[in-house]
Every structure is written in C-alpha cells, then in structure tokens.
C-alpha cells in the first residue's frame, strides 16, 4: 500500500479520535469535518471518484453544517461541569475494544483468502449514470422517496409548536 494511503488513513483516524475526545462540542464538529475529508480523499485514492465527490458534497457540505447548526441551537458548546463522558464510560470503552479486537482478528485471519485484484478499474461518470437509470432505477426511486419523507419528517419533528394556553 502506498505512502499516500497511510497519510490519509492517519489523517482520518486523527480527525475521528479528536471528534470523540475533545471537550468543546464545536471543536468536535470541526474534527469530524477533517475525518470526513480524509475519508473522501481515501475514496479518491481507491479510484472511486464519484463516491469521493459524493462524500464531500453530502458529508462536508450538508451533514457537518447540520451538526454545527444543531450544536449552536442546543447550546451544546458549553462544556458541562460534570465531565463530557457518561457514567459507564469504561464499559463502552471495553465493548469498543472488544469489537475492534474481533474485527481485526477476522481481517488478519482471512488475509490469504481475500481477493486482491490490482488492475485499476476505469469507471466513468457515464457508466454510473447508466447504471443509476438502468439496473438501479428502483433503488434510486426508493431513496428519493426516503429522502423526501426524511426531510419532511425532520422539519415536522423539529418544528416549534405553539404553547397551548393554560
């Protein structure tokens, strides 16, 4: 694996760690953006141009902005007095370490049987467009419906209801 891959992986993991460890929530959101950018660059490094640019547009352009808005609307940037970690943080850490141990054990056990084609795939945006309106047309329609429903649902859920007079 190339040097570039390791640099991008380190950038992504550092951003993710910072997002989960920093005390100030706004700083966490900024570190999250770094992690998303690192992931988009990893996708580009893996010759998945379309997915990489979709990642930049959706995650950095929309999700990160949404997170910042939610933090500012809930005044979450104030660091709570009694720490940022929950009471049973140790159990969570143990569970996460166990999951990582299981995953990495599975990957290292199956290194030999994993396929490893090194030929660089050539994928054009035209091929992806044809696949989206051809073979994957039903999933695209379902995702369109789901996004519409989710957008309307999010607006209705977050809508400010008038206080009923008492």
């Amino acid at each position: 694996m190339s040097f570039v891959f390791y640099v991008l992986a380190a950038l992504t993991l550092a951003g993710a760690l910072a997002a989960m460890l920093l005390k100030n929530t706004v700083h966490c959101a900024l570190a999250l953006t770094v992690a998303f950018a690192g992931l988009a660059l990893l996708f580009l490094n893996l010759d998945a141009q379309f997915a990489g640019f979709a990642q930049i547009l959706v995650y950095i352009g929309a999700v990160a902005i949404l997170v910042v808005f939610a933090i500012l609307l809930t005044r979450g940037s104030e660091t709570p007095r009694d720490g940022v970690y929950s009471r049973n943080w140790f159990a969570g850490l143990v569970i996460a370490a166990g999951v990582f141990a299981a995953l990495s054990w599975a990957v290292l056990q199956s290194v030999r049987v994993l396929s490893n084609e090194t030929a660089e795939p050539t994928v054009t945006a035209m091929q992806i467009g044809n696949a989206l309106v051809g073979r994957y047309v039903l999933p695209v329609e379902i995702v369109a419906l789901l996004l519409t429903a989710a957008t309307i649902g999010a607006v209705i859920v977050a809508m400010h209801e008038k206080e009923d007079p008492k």
């Binding site: 760690l17 997002a19 992690a35 999700v63 997170v67 609307l73 929950s86 290292l108 996004l147 999010a154």
Partner: protein
C-alpha cells in the same frame, strides 16, 4: 499486508472509534457523530471491496456506498431534528439526564 487488508483494518479502527464515542459521550449530538463515523467506516469497507474485488466494472460496491451515503444523510437530518426537539422539551442534551420516557 495486502492493500485490501489495510483498508479493512483502517475501517475497523474507525468503526471502533465511532462506537467508543457513541457509547461513552454524554452529549446526544456527539453520539450521533459517533454513529456517522461508524456508517462511514462501513462505506470505506464497501469501496475497498469494490476496488479490490474481482469485478469492479459491475459497480456493485460503489453503488452500495452511494446509496449508503444517501441513507446516512437522511438519518442525520432526522436524528438532529429529534435532538433539537428533545432539547426544547427537556432543556438538555445530556443523555445521562434523560433516563425517563415519560415527559
């Protein structure tokens, strides 16, 4: 270490970081951020399997990742809307303080 295995290990590490954050942070927004990181780790796996799999020209893994990105965007919108509404109702986003389902 083969390229696919190193991609999978990076994704496993990213997933574990997201899981640890989702399980240990108090702020509901940061729990959502942890869930987003886990979804992104899954996307990285999909892209890696697509890139190093036997038939990349079929675009299967890439399409899976693109649909997964769209679903994650919907999830983030609904989740953050819920957090804002909970904050309006309970005046806190601390998950340890929200231990009742009754308002």
């Amino acid at each position: 270490m083969t390229p696919l295995a190193s991609c999978l290990l990076v994704a496993a590490l990213l997933f574990s970081i997201g899981l640890a954050g989702a399980l240990t942070r108090r702020n509901a927004i940061l729990v959502l951020i942890g869930i987003e990181l886990m979804l992104n780790a899954a996307n990285l796996n999909l892209i890696a399997f697509w890139r190093y799999g036997p038939h990349p020209e079929l675009l299967t893994g890439m399409m899976f990742a693109i649909f997964s990105i769209a679903i994650a965007a919907a999830e983030a919108a609904v989740g953050l809307g819920l957090v804002i509404q909970i904050h309006r109702h309970a005046h806190t986003t601390d998950l340890d303080a929200m231990n009742r389902m009754k308002g």
